[in-house]
């Protein structure tokens, strides 16, 4: 198996285990997508060495490592902005997986996307995933007794505070993915466009 594929699989399984341990079921979405995206070329081609371009898989490893480091560090230091930071790092991982999905579609379907569209696909993919986190957040808010309906609020300030809790995953993801899109677009200029349109044989 390609070494990057192996690393992403191990890190994704580790993140999934952490999510299960914390009963954060929405947190399972990202590692499950990671495992699926990495396994898809192997399953479809029947070749365990099939993967994506090394540049692409290399940058996918970074947010997964940062996510785990952040999680472990938070266990000891209890960061004030851990939730926001984990959403931003998760959005980065989702974007890298989105780019891999775009490459997979380039290679295996009629769809043909150049670099800019690969990045745009990744951005929209990561943002769409954040909607799922928002649904998970409102479920948590409803089950813990937060005010949710128009009539529950006596003033605008109270509404702003509770609404901010709901909007946090989408707001952080929106800002973060725009920044990542600029970075990834510049980074992928180094990658041959051919590598964004086929599955790589691996090592």
């Amino acid at each position: 198996m390609n070494r990057y594929s192996l690393v992403i699989l191990i890190l994704s399984v580790a993140i999934a285990a952490m999510s299960v341990w914390k009963s954060d079921w929405a947190g399972l979405i990202m590692p499950v997508i990671g495992i699926s995206v990495v396994c898809a070329p192997m399953i479809v081609t029947g070749d365990p060495n099939k993967g994506y371009d090394d540049h692409l898989m290399g940058i996918a490893v970074i947010p997964l490592v940062v996510f785990i480091v952040l999680f472990v560090a938070n266990l000891f230091f209890n960061f004030e902005y851990y939730y926001q930071a984990s959403i931003a790092v998760g959005a980065c991982a989702s974007m890298t997986f989105g780019m891999m999905i775009a490459v997979f579609m380039n290679a295996r379907t009629e769809i043909s996307l150049p670099r800019r569209w690969v990045v745009l696909f990744a951005l929209t993919f990561a943002c769409s995933l954040s909607i799922l986190y928002t649904f998970s957040t409102i479920y948590w808010m409803a089950s813990t007794g937060y005010p949710l309906f128009n009539g529950d609020f006596s003033n605008t300030l109270e509404n702003d505070v509770v609404n901010m809790m709901l909007m946090l995953p989408m707001a952080v993801t929106t800002v973060a993915t725009i920044v990542y899109a600029v970075i990834f677009n510049a980074y992928l200029k180094r990658v041959d466009s051919l590598e964004l349109s086929r599955l790589c044989p691996g090592e």
């Binding site: 579609m105 380039n106 290679a107 295996r108 379907t109 009629e110 769809i111 043909s112 996307l113 150049p114 670099r115 569209w117 696909f121 951005l123 929209t124 993919f125 943002c127 769409s128 954040s130 909607i131 928002t134 649904f135 409102i138 808010m141 937060y146 005010p147 949710l148 309906f149 128009n150 529950d152 609020f153 605008t156 509404n159 702003d160 509770v162 609404n163 901010m164 809790m165 709901l166 909007m167 989408m170 707001a171 993801t173 929106t174 200029k189 466009s193 051919l194 964004l196 349109s197 086929r198 599955l199």
Partner: protein, 223 residues
């Protein structure tokens, strides 16, 4: 004598009514600045399809212009006559109508890219997928924009978390309606006829198909 287009009349009529309603609303009630800006901007947006035609940028079909005008009109009507505050489901209707309109515009944009950018090919399955993803992203951007406006100016565009979730669901329902319609439509039709009828300006075609020198080579797909 210069030909008068029905679509131009629709645009002018909608803009004129909105300006008149803005005048009545500003004179008769409070929240004048918000209403004034909403009314005037919506009236200007009603004229955009007409301006596009006269500037030679593109010629939108009458059906699409009607949908655009209705979407803008019901939003402005709701703000100017306080229907957003008084009728619980009014917000649902406007979000649904707007998402259908914008999803159709995204569809038009995507098939323009499909035809003029020779590096990009979505195909009949890719276009609905991209409409869905782009629209979900727009939906998020809109809600985040509302949040920013609420936090910075003290307005109350997001009434409650439930209201926000309902907006997102309405946007997604509108998007899914268009996505499924496009999917079924593209099974039996091609995009060329659509785009030819738009009569896009050459510079707009150039913008859609722009590519850097490095990317001049077409992408080879290894199936």
């Amino acid at each position: 004598m210069k030909k008068i287009y029905l679509s131009d009349l629709v645009c002018i009529f909608a803009a004129a009514i909105l300006l008149y309603m803005t005048y009545l609303s500003v004179v008769g009630t409070d929240r004048t600045a918000y209403k004034l800006w909403t009314g005037v901007l919506c009236a200007l947006f009603c004229l955009v399809p007409m301006l596009f035609r006269h500037a030679g940028i593109m010629k939108l079909p009458l059906a699409l212009i009607l949908i655009i005008e209705i979407s803008i009109f019901i939003h402005a009507y709701g703000v100017l006559l306080l229907l957003y505050d008084d009728i619980l489901w009014y917000d649902t209707i406007t979000h649904l109508a707007s998402s259908i309109t914008i999803a159709l515009l995204v569809f038009y944009a995507l098939i323009a890219v499909e035809l003029f950018d020779h590096q990009t090919h979505f195909g009949p399955r890719g276009i609905p997928l991209f409409i869905l993803l782009i629209m979900m992203t727009f939906s998020i951007f809109w809600e985040v924009l509302e949040l920013i406006v609420d936090q910075t100016t003290g307005t109350n565009m997001q009434y409650s978390p439930w209201d926000t979730i309902r907006d997102i669901v309405c946007n997604d329902v509108g998007t899914i309606i268009v996505t499924l319609s496009v999917r079924f439509y593209l099974k039996g039709h091609t995009c060329e006829g659509f785009i030819e009828s738009l009569e896009l300006h050459p510079s707009l075609k150039g913008f859609v198909s722009r590519r850097s020198k490095k990317e001049e080579q077409p992408v080879l797909v290894d199936h």
